[in-house]
Symmetry: C2
Subunit: 374 residues, 2 copies
């Protein structure tokens, strides 16, 4: 007999950072249901249900729609390495950490990466992207981040999707922080590939990456001349397990998928339109309340994500001390700035289950109290 | 308001296949604890505890010991792609599906792969591995599967570890099905790299891959001339989050890690020696009972895994029908054969929480009843 091991007791938190967001008890409890086998007929039926619900949330009829067994970054990597072969050109918009990560992952896949940059906190210039594409019409894909988690910028997609759909270039969209919070509308916007994470506006714990590919993107995967560099993230192999053949690839993360299923049930019960409206109205309420207090927001009104607000750290306030006090005294977690914005901004999330009027009220009250004392 | 979505109700099962194994209620409930942030001080402390407990189970003082955010196959891929650079030689022992998978992953990493094969159901010949290594002394690594999940073979490791430790070649061991069921003893056996999965003898749901690297393996990772092909599985980046710097890489799968922590608590409370003894004695009980019934086992006594037994499907018995009946009438899941053993064997697991005398008794009883009727 070994010694008794103390269990982990998570402190009480309200997750108002850039993700993970609060997870509702129904999702937490779903993950505690008994584990069954990854080839059990009941589990295979659950997989079909998950794919079907993901299609609704993505706004797509894409057959190839499934969650990758890894976090959002694994979704990004899966999308890029399956679509790119060494020597391919990829045009990547970079206006924050996650655009930069896309460029890095595409480079590791052997692609020639052309970046189109914008200042952090501003959207990418669609004309600049189109002009760059005209110079590189053979580009295999053009990728942008829909909701830049490092800044809080919402990228307009409609024009780009319409333009690229008339070309040979695939339109790839990072929807990690957008899915379930603002409309992604994969089919209407002519998006060929979109991936997300579970721990943002879906309010499911991190660990899975919903992914959807259009028929023309799948055609590209099937016509590769070289093997995908990763075996674990090879979509042909993963598709054979999720698709008709049910061929064993890797053991699916069963209980995490229980959680995703329950989280998607909650999204569909609320209704996606009602969910967007909730995020929109509470996001605006928070943002207006912050501006009324004289705080400066990083992003212009037109491009602000409702679910993630970047506030400039007020002059004279110590960033780390403020966030530590907020966590220790109020149990509120928010995010700091990344890269060039480190120490410059606070990132306040209102995603999924966190997005409720009590969160807004509590945060504003805590903010007032803390700033008064600093 | 959308329509009410029916929740998933997993059927009652006893998981006696090749994994996942039964998960105890204490682990299931641990996963339902509230999600906190991946940079929360309380979570960072939990990560340290998980690493420390993994060291005990691996039998290693290796500083670099952590769970990869993916299933066991992601652990395999992480180990191989971080240690191999294009053009490197890798010697891989293949006597089942997972040795074959290692060879495939190493090839995708650009390595020149030399395989040493053995019949499925037999261990690899250590002399053949050593002879092959003497012909390729510049090999970057030599990899074998400790517990071949596709056959139930236990591979002897001691001699190989001692031999390779005197060379420049790293010793890589797949411990997916062995960890927590039979001694892995990374340090005593001079293993440089070992990876595992959570859903076998640790009895935690699938989704994480414990991994440990020796100092000389880490030195190899640090002295790479090229970037690792995967950003998600790049150990330098992952190590910066799990190690001292706590630099954000990807969002850790928080609740899955709660489950792993609780599962490791259960292992340490039982004591690793007591756990090995439990697996050993019940495995032998099952195997002897099967032989008494005249059933033929695939693997010779000396190389049998206690936690996974391959039974030859008796002549005249329909493999699929038997397994379906076992599942539907008794709720017992066992595995079928893979590759050349498809339709030829049943794989019966007694791993972790499944490994109890009731499982053995129930399986034998169900087997008797079903075979009588066939």
């Amino acid at each position: 007999m070994g010694a008794l091991q103390p269990p982990f007791r998570p402190p009480r938190r309200i997750l108002m950072g850039p993700g993970p967001s609060d997870v509702s008890p129904r999702v937490l409890l779903a993950m505690a249901r008994p584990t069954i086998g990854h080839l059990d007929p009941a589990f295979l039926a659950l997989m079909d249900e998950i794919a079907e619900k993901l299609r609704v949330v993505f706004g797509s009829a894409n057959e190839f729609t499934l969650p990758i067994s890894g976090t959002g970054s694994a979704g990004m990597e899966t999308a890029l390495i399956n679509l790119l072969e060494p020597g391919d050109t990829a045009i990547i918009g970079v206006n924050g950490v996650f655009g930069g990560r896309m460029a890095e992952v595409a480079q590791r896949a052997g692609a020639r990466v052309i970046t189109v940059e914008a200042e952090w906190g501003k959207p990418l210039d669609v004309d600049a992207l189109v002009t760059t594409h005209r110079r590189h019409p053979d580009a295999r894909l053009l990728g942008v981040v829909h909701a830049e988690t490092s800044t809080g910028v919402l990228q307009p997609l409609d024009e780009l999707g319409g333009y690229l759909n008339e070309t040979e270039t695939l339109f790839l969209v990072d929807a990690v922080t957008s899915l379930g919070g603002v409309p992604v509308e994969v089919d209407a916007r002519r998006i060929d590939v979109a991936y997300s994470g579970t721990q943002k506006c879906l309010s499911v714990p991190p660990g899975l990456a919903p992914l959807t590919l259009s028929a023309r993107a799948m055609e590209r995967v099937r016509s590769r001349a070289t093997k995908v560099q990763s075996w674990y993230l090879d979509l042909s192999l993963i598709g054979a397990y999720w698709g008709g053949e049910r061929a064993y690839h890797h053991t699916a993360p069963i209980n995490a998928l229980y959680g995703l299923h329950e989280g998607l049930c909650a999204v569909l019960e609320e209704g996606v339109e009602a969910r967007y409206e909730r995020h929109s109205s509470l996001g605006v309420r928070l943002q207006e309340s912050l501006e009324k207090r004289g705080l400066e927001l990083l992003v212009e009104r037109e491009y602000r994500l409702p679910q993630l607000t970047s506030i400039r750290v007020p002059a004279g306030v110590n960033d780390r001390e403020f966030r530590r006090e907020l966590l220790e005294r109020y149990g509120i977690e928010i995010g700091g700035g990344l890269g060039p914005l480190a120490g410059q901004v606070w990132r306040v999330g209102l995603m999924g289950a966190t997005c409720r009027s009590e969160s807004v009220a509590l945060f504003l009250s805590a903010l007032d109290e803390l700033l008064e004392g600093m």
